[in-house]
């Protein structure tokens, strides 16, 4: 239905530059998630795409047409807001049909379209209610319905699930993914929640301080973060970082000395490194394994039993290391544990915070959410 391109998009408020020259390509029918900590500029970027803010510099193109000077209503977009932004004095039907009413669409046609959207979202019994008589999840669905009836070429979602409770958020996440398949639309989604990004995106755009840190599929970002920021931001709990020293470079990887004195070789490209360079080792909590012979050790400070898994917070020198261990581990607080990691699961970052490129790509790195579907089966996902 539509592609979107951003060329060198810049936004300044007075002297502060909040978006610093962003280039981005969104393909047809792609589900793209902008993710980043608060204040990174992701919502501003979306508001510029929607036409609610003007870009200070750069071009926004939809299907190759420059739309910087086109009004928000004429860009063929629809947006769903965090606070739902439902018109409080109108019924659900009035809310969903408002754009068509402004456009002068006759009443019967309006009603037909609203009913069609209401059917997709199971809103039919609620059409005559006012927003204040709806639950949070229902309001969110009405807001999505209002977007659907406009039949937009691109859907924009600005943190749409942030105001919902945890259980409802999971449910709406699944519903949105289903909707994306059903509508076959291009969708752009802003969130600060990396789990939403990982679960829904075909392509994640990680933003930080107004610049794009990395663009890629969820699996690519998880297995091959290009720098320390992305490595720390994607994945939960956060990746652990340890100061290490390089002891040598071989064709098979970079040899390092760990804090406890142990040595390992990590399969990354370190050809350009100076000898004895200071490096930072990054290992995700789920990739640390408890092992009596492991090269690392520390004292357990906090232990969280989640049932299926147990989080261990282990003091190692000045660092508190997180380990996701089996649910049934018998350790207690203040026990000393030994642990290690598989070298191919580890990451190395240079002093600029840039990741040394892996020598081998993870087999799932190119996977998108679309690929998770069995071949041949159309959009059939359990709702």
């Amino acid at each position: 239905m539509a592609t979107l391109q951003l060329h060198n998009i810049t936004k300044r408020f007075g002297d502060t530059e909040v978006i610093k020259g962003i280039d981005l390509e969104v393909n047809d029918r792609e589900f793209v998630v902008f993710v980043g900590p608060s204040g990174c500029g992701k919502s501003t970027l979306m508001r510029m795409i929607a036409g609610l803010e003007s870009a200070t510099d750069g071009d926004i193109l939809i299907d190759g047409q420059r739309i910087n000077d086109v009004g928000p209503a004429d860009r063929g977009l629809a947006m769903v807001f965090q606070s739902y932004a439902l018109y409080p004095h109108m019924t659900v039907e009035g809310n969903m049909g408002f754009s068509m009413r402004l456009a002068g669409v006759p009443k019967e046609e309006r009603r037909a379209k609203v009913l069609e959207a209401a059917k997709i979202l199971q809103l039919e019994p609620l059409l005559d209610r006012k927003p204040k008589a709806l639950s949070g999840g229902q309001r969110q669905r009405v807001a999505i319905g209002r977007a659907i009836v406009r039949n937009p070429s691109i859907f924009l979602f600005d943190e749409p699930l942030s105001n919902l409770d945890a259980a409802l958020r999971v449910q709406m996440r699944i519903e949105l993914a289903r909707l994306h398949d059903e509508l076959d639309a291009t969708m752009i989604y802003v969130t600060h929640d990396q789990i939403e990004a990982m679960t829904m995106a075909d392509k994640i755009v990680v933003l930080h301080d107004g610049v794009v840190e990395q663009v890629g599929s969820p699996m690519a970002l998880y297995h091959h973060p290009c720098n320390r920021f992305v490595a720390g931001f994607i994945g939960s709990p956060k990746m652990n970082f340890l100061q290490v020293t390089m002891t040598g470079v071989t064709p098979d990887g970079v040899a390092i000395r760990l804090p406890g004195g142990g040595e390992r070789s990590v399969p990354v490209d370190g050809q350009h490194l100076a000898p004895n360079a200071a490096l930072e080792l990054g290992v995700r909590p789920e990739h640390l394994v408890l092992d009596e012979q492991g090269p690392l050790s520390g004292q357990i400070k906090v232990l969280e039993r989640l049932g299926g898994q147990t989080s261990l917070y282990v003091q190692m020198d000045d660092e508190l290391i997180t380990i996701m261990a089996d649910g049934d581990v018998a350790y207690r607080v203040n026990d000393t544990v030994h642990f290690g990691f598989a070298p191919e699961r580890a990451h190395l970052f240079d002093t600029d915070g840039l990741a040394l490129p892996s020598l081998e790509q993870h087999p799932l790195a190119g996977l998108t959410r679309q690929d998770n579907r069995a071949p041949g089966s159309p959009s059939e996902e359990p709702a």
Binding site: R47, A50, G51, L52, G71, P72, A73, D74, L77, A78, M79, F81, Q82, S83, Y84, A85, L86, Y87, P88, H89, F98, S99, L102, A103, P131, K132, R139, R146, R150
Partner: protein, 292 residues
Amino acid sequence: MANVIRRQTPAARLFRGLLYGVLILAALFYILPLVVMLMTSVKPLSEISAGSLLSLPQNPTLTPWTKAWGEACTGMRCEGVGGYFWNSFAIVIPAVLISTTIGALNGYALTKWRFKGSELVFALMLFGCFIPFQVVLLPMAQTLGWLGISSSRAGLILVHVVFGIAFTTLFFRNFYVGIPNELVSAAKLDGAGFFRIFWRILLPVSAPIIVVSVIWQFTQIWNDFLFGVAFSAHNTQPVTVALNNLVNTSTGVREYNVDMAAAMIAALPTLVVYVLAGKYFVRGLTAGSVKG
């Protein structure tokens, strides 16, 4: 806990009794002027000069009211305050409507269409709330002269509108600040422009603050005396000015009952407005935001 509250010691009961006693006394004290006015306005003149201020009327009569309305002398004329009563309405209604409308538009523009310096504009408008009336009398007279509407009803309406905008803008601005901007963003994406968003989205949720603005403006303008006496000709004077003239016109005996009746007539509309819409007034002043 309920037990503890119910079983009062005699001292606590005494204190409670005293508390109510003081409150009732205070309430009586505040209502007394109104009671005296009402009683005096239905007493014949003979009873006023004979009895005390607080004695109940022996032979109640409505003659003072009809006289105040239609016959009492206000200066050279003796036509009562009735005509001026309608004069006041002819000034107040357009002035209230215009100033409220402009205030609503101002508040809307200042909150939902922020522009460079919009905060400064608002601060300057706020300044208008603190300008004493007397200061602007001469420049205003000059301006009305230039506009060719001095001593006319239109001139007086203009003065009240200009003075009222500061307050109505303040009311609406503070109300609209509490309405989520995303509502306006959503309407923009739905294809509505400046006035359509105002008319279709903002105005329908503004009822509480409209009531506040109308009550406030109505009371202010109705009770105004200074502008009324300074900027109106004889036939367009508001009822406050007529009341003053009536009380100050001395032809022989001072008719307190007629004075009181005229004062009651002049005060009635603001009382009625407050009684009818008072609860919305409080609700509107305390309304923070509109929840979706």
